[in-house]
Amino acid sequence: MKAIESFVRRMFRAKKITKEDKESMEILTQMLIEKVEDLKEQGMSEDDAIDKTIDEFGEIDDYYHPKMAREKRRHHRIKTLRHYRNDLLFASLSTVLIAGILGYVNLVYFWDYGPWFIVPTLGLLFWPLSLLYALLNKKSDSDD
């Protein structure tokens, strides 16, 4: 019955578990196990019974309270915002690094052609800039 337990745990994953939730989880696990037992008594194999039980349970939103569902969405949003920040950080550091290498090569080996490294660096800047734009958009989305 590990499959049922982990199914229930997954459902509550995005939520801060209160004492009440813990109780709900226990009861829900029992409800689902009862169904699996019933199906097994009717002659179904355990694996099939578990599959059927999980399948007929429906979407997570069918179970979640509207309030709970809202909380879950909010949690999800913060997570993506964090992702956007990480993306931006990665792009900025990479841009600095690549521009630095280009500048070094330009200064040391190809100074005769002038400071040409500025041109690819300007192009490269669009990478972190576009991610900054995406991040700010995401931020104003989650403020409302």
Binding site: E34, K35, D38, F57, G58, E59, I60, D62, H65
Partner: protein, 113 residues
């Protein structure tokens, strides 16, 4: 005919209460009973149903106990409380009124040309 589950969802509480008033039942038994009584024309998602059962217990309209072994496994059975019974009768009265009003409005032959 598949009726939108949203419409029926709002009326699920008295249905669950009625099934529990008939006799003490466990959660899957309730889901099963709904399926067979509607000849499978309506299946409420079990997730919705189980959430409702838990909510009814929190509102003390039903109470639960663990059945004895002779019931077949150790199942959590739900029984009605006096409060639940009162709430059920109130809802039935409401439902009958609504039914009368709706049939007066929708089935009356008042079409004019």
């Amino acid at each position: 005919m598949a009726i939108s589950s949203d419409i029926l969802r709002g009326h699920m509480e008295p249905v669950i209460l009625k099934l529990i008033i008939e006799k003490d039942r466990y959660a899957y038994e309730i889901a099963n009973e709904i399926q067979s009584r509607t000849a499978a024309s309506f299946s409420v998602k079990e997730g919705t149903l189980y959430a409702l059962v838990q909510r009814l217990e929190r509102k003390e309209l039903i109470r639960s106990y663990i059945g004895t072994k002779s019931h077949g496994g150790r199942r959590r059975y739900y029984a009605i409380t006096p409060l639940g019974k009162a709430y059920y009768h109130e809802k039935i009265k409401e439902w009958k009124e609504l039914k009368t009003i709706m049939s007066q409005l929708l089935e009356g032959d008042h079409e004019s040309d």
